[in-house]
Symmetry: C2
Subunit: 198 residues, 2 copies
């Protein structure tokens, strides 16, 4: 979770100025190239203050994007177990977030990504480089195939979220999570570790 750290919120104007600067800088430069220093500069504050308010660059990004959960906390869950079960665990973990109270924030983010090129660009970069590739790097597949595998996983998972939570297509919308784990899990497993065409 990205919101409640127990820390006092600090000056709301300064916090908002940093978040605005972060959104602009991430959008202009992408996640990797946007530095805390550049964001602090755009907000007119000291970089130490950015770290003080938001912690790491990941945390700042998640807060600026209203991310419902910290994906870094979910990656170990997906990886905990045998390699051949990773697809099912990924689907189960993903549905766990969307079916939880955090799901409404996830839906809002997805809708925003569809209508807003800026959100779409940041989301795709963050999810692929910070989440999916972290999972894939642990699964011992050809590194040259990571981008294609990661983006194939994204097609299935985003489509599942769209149909279940936004378009509400039955019976996927009301299906028990384990039904989707059993049907979609093998797809994800094949995208993660199965053979790809040359």
């Amino acid at each position: 979770m990205t919101r409640r750290t127990g820390r006092r919120p600090g000056n709301p104007d300064t916090r908002e100025a940093i978040l605005d600067a972060a959104r602009t800088t991430f959008a202009d430069r992408g996640f990797d190239s946007a530095s805390i220093r550049a964001i602090a500069g755009a907000a007119g504050v000291d970089p130490a203050l950015v770290h003080h308010y938001f912690g790491s660059k990941d945390q700042l990004f998640l807060t600026a994007m209203n991310f419902p959960v910290d994906p870094a906390q979910l990656v170990p869950t997906v990886l905990a177990g045998d390699r051949d079960g990773a697809g099912e665990r990924l689907v189960r973990t993903f549905l766990g977030v969307w079916d939880s109270p955090a799901g409404s924030a996830a839906q809002a983010l997805l809708r925003s990504a569809v209508s807003n090129e800026w959100t779409a660009r940041l989301l795709r970069e963050f999810v692929t480089t910070q989440v999916l590739r972290r999972v894939l790097e642990q699964l011992d597949v050809d590194p040259a195939q990571l981008p294609l595998r990661g983006s194939l996983v994204a097609t299935q998972m985003i489509g599942l979220a769209m149909m279940r939570y936004v378009v509400r297509l039955e019976p996927v919308a009301s299906a028990a999570p384990e039904t989707l784990v059993a049907t979609v899990g093998p797809t994800i497993q094949r995208y993660l570790t199965g053979p790809l065409p040359a």
Copy 2:
């Protein structure tokens, strides 16, 4: 294609009144229950005039929704060939539409479905009952499984469209169509004809 029939367009006000009535009636009653008679009544015209301007209820729906192609023309392409190749043919046919000039209309429709509950409801009903089930009915699978199979296909295909054309996630966005046919085709095939959990 739904737009140019060679027929004269008729009175533009009357045409628009019928299309407005169609959108409202389809939204209120769903595709199956909305009759040409009810739509004509809502538009204050004779049902024969609706048929004269728009042909069948399918055609009226496609025109009212700004559908880029008539799916009925695509179904035979997907079915033309062996059963085990249906998944790949479905992906190839789908990408053929989206990669064609009609693709921009398809994108607009997808974006609209995300932001508009009404469009989403009609789209999901039409695509599942008029397109996917027509394909599935020809593939000799348990009729009780048709809705789940159809909606699983929808999750993957809509997610593919989202990532390739809206979010533009690489390398899926720039991949050769045949790469996606080879990677996503087996997923669709499994959803169409593979074993499902009890």
